[in-house]
């Protein structure tokens, strides 16, 4: 039985000068036979999560179990074996090798795994036929439509009959007819013995999924304002945290600062009584891009996005917000 179990997964890395945490204490549990949808906009961590599931990126904390195998700590030959036999990947741009025919693209992972050429050719032929391309096996990717390229990519991902199949934005380069057949194929592949994980920013796949994981939760629902009192030096929220509240300073002073890759701090702005901050994260469903800390004894009120809009009026202009109100 191939299950997928993600526990307390956190990924943090330095990009440019700053520390980014696209995945924070994520939990996923999917039995085999399920199609799991990773839903969220660009930058929310879908590709990061897929990279972790593929054994390409090591998480900062947490664990990933595929069946009874812990993959987050794999190294060396065990990791190579997992990438070859434990997971199949359908990349967003298909990423077929242009110099190889459709059949050879499917054979390639088997060549790398040491499978004999005759056996690889036979297996590739079976898979190409399974995805309905038996008459196009000798075509190069440049001679195939987007939908056919996707099917070759799916066939390649199934070469070792992996217990985990990952698909990154499978509808990105397809017209609506190709989308239909592609999604149908993915749905069929989520059969007993395999978990299929699909990352997408569009919601049209939701009806096909057995489980939907929203990586960028929406915080638009109404909620009661929260009063927060901070002592000097006390941190309100950290860079990378997810929160639903926009804060208004009632009294005191709040320092907004970013933590650099070398763990030094860079002050962005000070907020005083009557000023607000922290609307972009809840509004866009993104993690906090900076940290907030009280400079003096401070009292704040935290509002939900809808409540904040209603009380303080007008649509929040994101451009102006980015310039003047970070985090």
């Amino acid at each position: 039985m191939a299950d997928l179990l993600v526990k307390d997964l956190t990924v943090e890395y330095t990009t440019g000068d700053y520390v980014v945490r696209p995945i924070d204490r994520l939990e996923i549990s999917a039995p085999n036979g399920h199609l799991v949808l990773l839903l969220g906009p660009s930058g929310c961590g879908k590709t990061t999560l897929l990279s972790c599931l593929a054994g390409i990126l090591s998480p900062t904390a947490g664990s990933i179990m595929v069946g009874d195998r812990e993959i987050s700590g794999l190294t060396g030959q065990e990791l190579t074996d997992y990438r070859r036999h434990g997971v199949g990947i359908v990349f967003q741009a298909f990423n077929l090798i242009a110099s190889l025919s459709a059949l050879e693209n499917v054979e390639a992972p088997m060549w790398l795994g040491g499978t004999g050429r005759r056996e690889a050719k036979q297996r590739a032929g079976e898979l190409i036929a399974r995805v309905g391309l038996e008459d196009r096996g000798h075509h190069k990717p440049g001679q195939l439509s987007g939908g056919r390229q996707q099917r070759v990519a799916i066939a390649r991902a199934l070469v070792h009959d992996p217990p985990l199949l990952l698909a990154d934005e499978p509808t990105a380069h397809l017209d609506y007819i190709q989308v239909e057949s592609g999604l149908q194929l993915l749905r069929e592949l989520a059969a007993p013995g395999r978990v299929v994980v699909v990352a997408t920013h569009g919601e049209r796949m939701i009806p096909l999924a057995d489980q939907v994981v929203e990586l960028a939760p929406k915080f638009l629902e109404a909620r009661e304002p929260e009063r927060v009192e901070l002592a000097p030096g006390e941190v309100l929220f950290n860079q990378g945290d997810r929160s639903a509240l926009v804060y208004v300073v009632e009294s005191g002073e709040i320092e907004i600062f970013k933590v650099r890759g070398d763990h030094t701090e860079e002050r962005v702005v000070l907020r005083h009584a009557g000023e607000h901050f922290g609307e972009l994260g809840p509004l866009l469903g993104l993690p906090r891009s900076a940290s907030a800390r009280a400079v003096t004894a401070t009292v704040l009120t935290g509002y939900g996005v809808a409540d904040f809009r209603e009380r303080f009026g007008g649509d929040i202009q994101v451009g102006a917000a980015l310039q003047s109100h970070p985090a």
Partner: protein, 349 residues
Amino acid sequence: MWLISLRDLVYRRRRFVIAIIGTAAVFAMALVLAGMAAGFRVEAERTQNGIGADAWVVPSGVPGPWTNFRTMPASLAAAVAAEPGVRAAAPLIHLRQSVHEGSKLIDVNVFGHRIGGLGEPAAAQGRVERHPGQVLVDSKLGVHVGDTVVIGRWRFTVTGVVHGMTATSGIPTVWMPLQDAQTMGFGGQPLTTAIITKGVPKRLPPGLTLVSNAAALDDGLRPLQSGIQSISSSKTFLWVIAAIIIGAVVYLSTLERVRDFAVLKAVGASSRDLFLGLAAQSVVIALVAAALAVVLAQLMAPLFPLTIAIPWSAYAALPVVALVVGTLASLVGLRKAVTVDPALAFGAN
């Protein structure tokens, strides 16, 4: 992985064909240079063999007959001939002169010998000279039987032509009677620069030194050693250039295939797999270029005025050189390939 790389070679064949042709030209030039370096010895051997001596006798203190400008009495040949081990001995004069061809001067090696005696080569056309005022010349001089040549300030009639008897970088030889050479070089005095023998003398009259054929050859090549070494060094530079050509093309190809490498790594290719793939491409380019170079070298050799004698060892070494060059060239793209982050495969195009 090697199959994936070979498919890529075919897919991007235009640039790889250009690289193969460029590398083949470089390898061919290296072969020609090897032939040029060997040619100095080959021409010297050919000329020396044409003289047919078993040994050479020169004044004491002189390293050999080709770089010697000291003279000795020609009559010493009789004394040498009387020594045990010698069946025959004769004087042989070696001079450097110039032939006037209109306003042009052509350097020649002049050999003065006893008419009908030792040191007389066989004529390929016409006959050997029989009287003063007659010469036998190498075909490189570009004259024919019956022509008149002016050597120094003397006029001679060409009675015969030999082929391939040049020395010291393609300088043609001229054979003339001993007296004519003594007139030209010593004002008519009965002197000689060397005595050649049939049989090897076991002892010599005082004041004379025995020089073997091998030592005579080395004597003739000694002034050319720095030139020969420079040619050999140039050969090594050419191999480096070949590696640079292949390395540049493979590196450019690697840059274009970064996403391919990311995908291959994501599906389980190791860094070793990627290196072997790059090495396979580079080695194939180098080996095909080496094969083409063998043909090109044959076409290029006649274009040079020197003797080009490409030794078999150069041909045998070429595939080995190609293997080494190809492998080293693949290292240029190796770092780029192995450091590719497989997560790149998840990016959009």
